[in-house]
């Protein structure tokens, strides 16, 4: 990898993921975003978790991350080509099923996806666009793993 190719100098970048539902314990959600301001070579990672079960508090974290972390996230976006998908055939969020949102702005490209929370792999299989939804699901799973690992190491919390 020639590092230079995946990180255009100080290119603004934004990724936001939200997953939430209204359940037995009220409104519960996690949300994180990763952003790079124009002209900055570092980024910011923010994380919020509101779970009313067991831990009756809102966890809110914000930390500055190196451009190398941002580079890894961009690599993951490019590898799976999630930005080429469309959410038009995905199960729409209902009033009961919860919602997942993914927003990415990278260079000139921008996507905003919205779908009903995916609970099991059969939710993907049953949808009208299983290939696209699978790309979304695995990308989200992998980027969550990165964010949770970082938050876990930095703050010694179990972020979920």
């Amino acid at each position: 990898m020639s590092g230079a190719e995946s990180n255009k100098k100080h290119e603004p970048f934004y990724l936001r993921y939200y997953s939430g539902h209204r359940g037995r314990f009220g409104k519960e959600f996690i949300e994180f975003d990763i952003s790079v301001e124009p002209g900055h070579e570092w980024g910011t990672m923010r994380y919020v978790n509101s779970s009313n079960y067991r831990r009756d508090e809102l966890i809110r974290k914000k930390v500055t991350i190196s451009k190398t972390v941002v580079k890894q996230i961009k690599i993951m976006i490019k590898e799976c080509e999630v930005m080429k998908e469309k959410d038009s055939q995905w199960p729409p969020p209902g009033s009961s099923g919860g919602i997942e949102e993914l927003e990415i702005r990278m260079g000139p490209e921008k996507i905003v996806f919205e779908t009903k929370q995916i609970q099991t792999l059969s939710d993907i299989q049953k949808s009208s666009d299983p290939e696209g939804l699978r790309v979304f699901y695995y990308f989200v799973t992998d980027v969550k793993a990165l964010v949770y690992s970082m938050m876990g190491l930095h703050y010694k919390i179990r972020p979920f």
Partner: protein, 124 residues
Amino acid sequence: MEVDQEECSSSVLNPARSIEGYVIIALNVHPEASEDDIIDFFDEFGKVKNVQLNMDRQTGYAKGYALVEYEKLREAETAVDEADNSELLGKRLVVDFAFLEGNEDNIQSSNRERSRSPGGSKRW
């Protein structure tokens, strides 16, 4: 080959301390690398306190990055200086600090926060 040494070091901000030490990130990790491979490699620069080698959930292979924590800044600095641009299992690593000193704010809690934004329209 002096590949983007400058490109890959976050020279503007200082590394930030995590609760138990300093976390570095390695990119371009071989898909078949194991956690033991990572520990063996990075133990050269100091005592590795924590490792996270996340898997690609679809393939089961390593996703391509590793997070490594040292207790001391000096150990982490040595790892960043010496491991960056070096080879592990035939792949050239990019190694850097994961966290930098910026304007961090960690607001723990509270009910106050939650009741203020019941609709979730402004979550931050």
